[in-house]
Symmetry: C2
Subunit: 529 residues, 2 copies
């Protein structure tokens, strides 16, 4: 496939904008072909107008058709083959193995949502049958199920050019729910975005969905992002990225004359708590795992563990020594963009300059001749230093971690109480440790979406029980996940039918249950007709 550098508007292409952007190979600084036309306000309007038409038109299509669309998209992405892998590597400097793994994950996610929609029970169908003779008034027949929310705007993330981008979890779950999608491609990987976008465009045509089911826009202008969010036809937003951009999008969406939900996943410091039993049993393994988790993918994961807490002890000192030693051996890596590299350097410098914070270990920060190179860093402070500088709890995106040596368990729990919302918290301990620190667990349950025991937060499993979310500022809505089957609930809402005849009801709510889905009938879960 040849890249055309235009926006995808339903079945067409459009490059009205005079401003262009180009991808840059972060490992070499080389500019890549072609030039991509940034979307104009008219093109945004066109994409959303098409999406609104598609939303209404696609209502006629069955769940099976929606499942097919997702499967066909997966197949088309697979079929791009090496060209896709090569382009992702060129635009992101991510290693080929990682890119292939991420492609597999993206395809599997699409197929997982196809399966979810095909099985059908996700619609949470509820039927309360009529009681015509009830006193003092008859009870009507009520039937409720979930249906799509409307056109969804999706913002691609820089750090997952496939799995959280054009055909990532946001797009897959929105399409699964019956929502058309308009994607704003991340400007760091426009070529990757176009390749995947063309795969979706072809699938939409092949499956005879309304062409407005999918559009793809390019831009690096924040005003264009806001125009997308505030377009009257946009009904919800999926976003993964920085706090600053996520908050701006949330604010724009909330202050619309008709506010819309924003599911923004904005990052997290993912605190790790080292309890004494674990240190005495597995000190070396924990240190090894931590350094691996911190430096994985040059630290460019939202689940990167940026804070580590332990109670001062000779064991903790040994842990620090062990970790220091390991961090010094971590090789440098190429970051995704010059902007991310610069922000990491700035964040590290700010940490180092803080009172009572000490840089204990680091891999060399630059490799001769390399661009966008970054090394790992390991910093130390104590509970007083940490509580005196609340901003130390803010995320520094990159391979660094700050260990806070606390004077006591109580002090560590106080610090946990002071933390803001996070995607995850990790506890290393024995079962005895857990039972001795029950209050700490209760505090963390209030603060995070996922609690990990004796593991590491990086590596987010895609499955029904995953919750990749958490209280603000980790996300803008702690009730929803962006990973796993439950991600579909972000883009659906209930519609209730009162006293409707069978012939006018959706299949999911008809008496004989033609789709054989699980339903609540008079409050009881059943699968029979």
């Amino acid at each position: 496939m040849e890249l055309h550098g235009q926006n995808i508007l339903g079945a067409s292409r459009s490059g009205l904008g005079k401003t262009v952007l180009r991808a840059v190979n972060p490992a070499t600084g080389e500019k890549l072909e072609p030039r991509f036309h940034e979307a104009t306000p008219d093109e945004i309007d066109e994409a959303l107008t098409l999406a609104a038409e598609a939303f209404r038109s696609n209502r006629r299509l069955s769940a099976e058709k929606r499942a097919q669309l997702l499967d066909v998209i997966a197949g088309h992405i697979e079929a791009i083959g090496d060209q896709l892998v090569g382009r992702v590597c060129a635009e992101t400097a991510l290693p080929e193995g990682r890119v292939k793994g991420e492609r597999q994950r993206t395809i599997s996610q699409l197929r997982m949502f196809a399966e979810l929609v095909r099985e059908g029970s996700w619609v949470d169908a509820r039927i309360d049958r009529a009681l015509p003779g009830r006193q003092p008034v008859a009870k009507p027949d009520l039937r409720r199920m979930l249906t799509g929310l409307g056109p969804v705007a999706v913002f691609g993330a820089s750090n997952f050019p496939l799995a959280f981008s054009v055909a990532g979890g946001d797009t897959a779950s929105a399409l699964a729910a019956g929502c058309p999608v308009v994607v704003k491609a991340h400007p760091a990987h426009p070529g990757t975005s176009e390749l995947v976008g063309m795969a979706i465009q072809q699938a939409v045509a092949q499956c005879a969905f309304h062409p407005g089911t999918f559009s793809l826009l390019h831009s690096q202008d924040p005003e264009i992002s806001i125009a997308l969010v505030t377009h009257p036809a946009t009904c919800a937003v999926g976003f993964t990225g920085s706090y600053r951009a996520g908050r701006a999008i949330f604010d724009a969406a909330s202050s619309r004359s008709k506010p819309i939900p924003v599911y923004a996943e904005m990052g997290s410091v993912n605190p790790v708590f080292l309890l004494p039993g674990a240190l005495s049993e597995r000190l070396v393994q924990i240190s090894e795992g931590l350094v691996q988790s911190v430096s994985l993918g040059v630290g460019q994961f939202c689940t990167n563990p940026g804070l580590v807490f332990g109670v001062r002890s000779s064991l903790l000192d040994r842990f620090i020594d062990e970790t220091k030693h390991r961090v010094e051996q971590v090789p440098c890596g190429t970051m995704l963009t010059p902007g991310i590299k610069a922000a990491y350097q700035k964040g590290l410098a700010r940490l180092q300059a803080a009172e009572r914070v000490k840089l204990t270990a680091s891999s060399p920060l630059d490799r001769p001749g390399g661009v966008n190179q970054a090394g790992s860093a390991f910093l130390l402070t104590d509970d007083n230093g940490f509580l005196a500088n609340p901003w130390l709890a803010e995320e520094v995106f990159g391979p660094c971690s700050l260990l806070v040596a606390c004077a006591s368990d109580k002090r560590m729990e106080e610090i946990a109480s002071s933390l803001e919302g996070n995607l995850t918290a990790t506890i290393h301990g024995t079962e005895q440790d857990l039972s001795n620190h029950r209050d700490l667990i209760h505090v963390l349950e209030e603060k995070v979406g996922r609690l990990i025991f004796n593991g590491f937060p990086t590596g987010v499993e895609v499955c029904p029980a995953m919750h990749h979310g958490g209280p603000f500022p980790a996300t803008t809505d702690p009730k929803f996940t962006s990973v796993g089957t439950a991600a579909i609930y972000r883009f659906a809402r209930p519609v209730c039918y009162q006293n409707f005849p069978q012939s006018a009801l959706p299949e999911e709510l008809q008496d004989h249950n033609p789709r054989r889905i699980w339903r609540q009938i008079d409050g009881q879960l059943r699968r029979e007709g």
Copy 2:
């Protein structure tokens, strides 16, 4: 019980505020005793600080204990007996029969949530078991369930002094989810609020919950409402009332440094569509039902049908005549407050003054000697008149309805497309009508939360399949209902446990399923251990 006129702060009372408010009997204008102290910012802070403590402390209590609390509250409310009914009647002028019915509904709702929590499957437990041998990486054990969001601020509604007030659906569902509640009493029924508030306070003590589980504040100062919404410990808001107040609360909540969700139900015009088959079969019954639904409770329901659409025909003319005749016979009624009465009068005057709108019928607007009396009104316009004045689609709270005679089906569908979000839409038709108007149904599915066939929107059943919600401006979040068991999901969020030992997991997620709840195990619904 003697009314004390103070705020309830956990186990205590407090009346630090110098400003007082008094209830007024809307039927007589008489001021009622006692004076109620309006809450001060310090008292708000105290209530929320207690609530945050209670949230953490109550985590130790079982689901069975939460169910008990709800049952005991229901019993205490019932036990207040005639004093409660008398006070509600005095503060609202609602007829005794209606008040007793609403009390029963309030008690039943509390017991319904007790049953939901006791049964336990609402937590949407999901377990994905580990696959230690999976390649390329092991799959961890992941277990997820819903848990309370944190302290909830509830704003009592004027028009349901029991069922949407201190112990109404918002409070019941929040307590069921494990969230402490701080209620801001509606200033029109402070005595009712205090009586119910004392019943809850007693129940909290009797069931040995943390006293901060419930507080009740009085105020009619909008700044105090905003202070409650913006307090750092407040995690969610339940509100039923006007668009203006709801939007102000939503804006305050969204612009917090840590935004919180607001579930505001703000009213609706609840359009009714008259299709030709229905008019030819049941013209008189539909007219009778419509007038009854419009004038019920002096039109003071959020599901009051304020707009009626039909295609011009001799049948529609007959329907208009029939309805006109009935409206003229509807007696006046007492509205809830002078403010509501004044707003109704103003709204009616504005409608009447609009070009192409004609007042066709009304009951006399004032009865000699009565205060806050209002009569029903029936107005007419055509499709051009309606589309020329988009504000005609805004709610006028009270017993009036505007019929729009459309030139064609297509024109009626166009108008439906132009409507904003509503709680309900009603269709009167035959099965043949429905199949002839499938596009209209699809349009309405995008616009409303509940579609009623051959019935009327007033009368909201409390059950699992009810969806009392709808797209903005009907509510601020169309994904949630404020009535029925699903209301609990407003106040809960998932927490996921990765590789946790059995002993540290909540009962709901332990292998042997001690609570025998429905769970998704590796994606399959099961009730076994």
